[in-house]
């Protein structure tokens, strides 16, 4: 991997290559549930292109970020609903 980036997913360090989206980092971490629905069920990405809103996670404290449209940056703190 050329110059891997390290991000945190739910407190765990995950190493990814540049150009990796946040959604992929979550999946690489082994997490399939990104957010909890209104009735408490886990959801993951559906559309992969920023319109379904199912892939939302919290990035550096900002809620409701569409992880399929955001590139990983070094030191990013990513949190899914747990």
């Amino acid at each position: 991997m050329s110059n891997p980036i390290t991000v945190q997913v739910n407190g765990k360090a995950v190493s990814v290559s540049p150009g990796t989206i946040v959604a992929a980092a979550v999946a690489i971490n082994g997490t399939s549930g990104f957010r909890k629905s209104v009735l408490g069920k886990f959801r993951g990405p559906l559309c992969g292109m920023g319109i379904c809103m199912e892939c939302r996670v919290t990035i550096n404290g900002q809620k409701h970020c569409r992880s399929c449209q955001i590139l990983c940056e070094p030191g990013m703190e990513i949190r899914t609903d747990e």
Partner: protein, 377 residues
């Protein structure tokens, strides 16, 4: 003429729905007609704030009576109505507004409404996301919030349980002076009386009625539970509601039980369209940011508008019209339609059934505008 009812309620918004419920429960053969669907007019743009107001004795009487009826109904309300006892927090930015807080406290306590004065520290503790430096506020713990379209739907279900009939997507063209209505397709339905609960469109059915459209904007956010806990209203809200000027904004935010924030409020006269007016949205949000700076970072899902039904004295019209003893009115609720829907329905049914009312209905009599209506003719 087809069929015959005791009363036809025109308008299935929250006010019409409450009227229908009370009439049907009172034993009147009730028909409800709406050109659209339930709660699709002004009700769909209502903030759903259940609030006691002290603007005038009459307004206080109607809002506190109505709030009591809402609270009594609370155990039966289905989940979809989203009744949440958030309380209201009136915030004071400076000493002048704190003096207003003191005045309100006296007014409410004299009339048995529980309130609590908060100083600067207490307000900051009650709502940590408010900007520092506010002077204090007044908490009204028994106020609450609901989701208005489902409120209307629930009242209509109760009306139907008591024998009322509902027909949606039926347009009424005329309220007949001899009783009943004429529909857009030319057919007629007879009734002892009709009542117009058509909000900002009521002058279309009753020309000359002193009801004006007053446009408002709303913004709803994604879920961020705990961002605010009360319905927070700036004390300047009353200046906005009262102003006869064309445009005004006032800070108003509501936490919905879903965790979403509902942000308002704005007032414009003489703007018919439902399009979002960017300059008003700018003003409204800048005002909100001045109280809640963190609001900027919340995610907004939708901006929409609605029209309130405004009367010259900020009080609704409840009772027989000046046109005919068979044409009644339940309209003109401006920004208090959700709260006062239940009080309106009860008062209307009392009058129709010859029952004693719990509060004085005279201040809401359409006859008080006799001069204005005659001038129109």
């Amino acid at each position: 003429m087809t069929q015959s009812y005791d009363i036809i309620v025109v308008g299935a918004g929250i006010v019409g729905a409450a009227c229908a419920m009370e009439c049907a429960r009172g034993g009147l053969r009730t028909l409800v007609l709406d050109r659209g669907t339930v709660g699709g007019g002004t009700t769909a743009a209502g903030m759903g704030h259940l609030v006691v107001m002290d603007d005038s004795e009459a307004q206080f009487a109607l809002t506190s009576f109505s709030r009591k009826l809402w609270r009594e109904m609370r155990p039966q309300l289905p989940r979809e109505v989203e009744f949440d006892a958030t309380g209201t927090l009136w915030v004071a930015a400076d000493d002048e507004e704190m003096a207003e807080v003191a005045r309100k406290q006296k007014f409410y306590e004299e009339r048995g409404v529980g309130v609590e004065v908060l100083n600067a520290q207490a307000v900051a503790k009650a709502e940590p996301n408010l900007r520092p430096g506010l002077a204090g506020g007044l908490r009204v713990p028994d106020d609450g919030v609901v989701y208005p379209p489902c409120g209307a739907q629930y009242f209509l279900e109760q009306a139907e349980k008591a024998g009322a009939e509902l027909r949606t997507r039926v347009s009424v063209k005329t309220l007949l002076p001899e009783g009943g209505v004429e529909l857009a397709d030319g057919s007629r339905i007879s009734a002892g009386r009709s009542v117009s609960a058509t909000g900002p469109w009521s002058p279309e059915l009753t020309p000359g009625l002193p009801v004006r459209k007053r446009k408002g904007h709303l913004v709803i956010t994604e879920r961020d539970p705990g961002f605010v806990h009360h319905q927070i209203v700036e004390l300047g809200y009353l200046k906005s509601a009262h102003s006869a000027g064309k445009e005004s904004v006032a800070f108003n935010i509501q936490p919905r039980i879903t965790g979403q924030m509902l942000i308002g409020s704005s007032r414009q006269f003489d703007v018919e369209t439902s399009a979002v007016d960017q300059h008003i949205l700018n003003r409204m949000l800048q005002r909100a940011f001045a109280y809640l700076p963190g609001l900027k970072r919340l995610s907004a899902i939708r901006v929409w508008t609605g029209h309130r039904a405004a009367t010259p004295d900020q009080l609704p019209l409840i009772g027989p019209s000046l046109v005919s003893e068979k044409i009644w009115l339940a309209t003109g609720h401006e920004g208090l339609g959700i709260t006062t829907s239940l009080g309106t329905g009860r008062l209307l049914a009392d009058m129709l059934l010859g029952r004693q009312s719990e509060i004085d209905a005279a201040p809401f009599s359409p006859a008080r505008f006799a001069k204005e209506v005659l001038a129109h003719e």
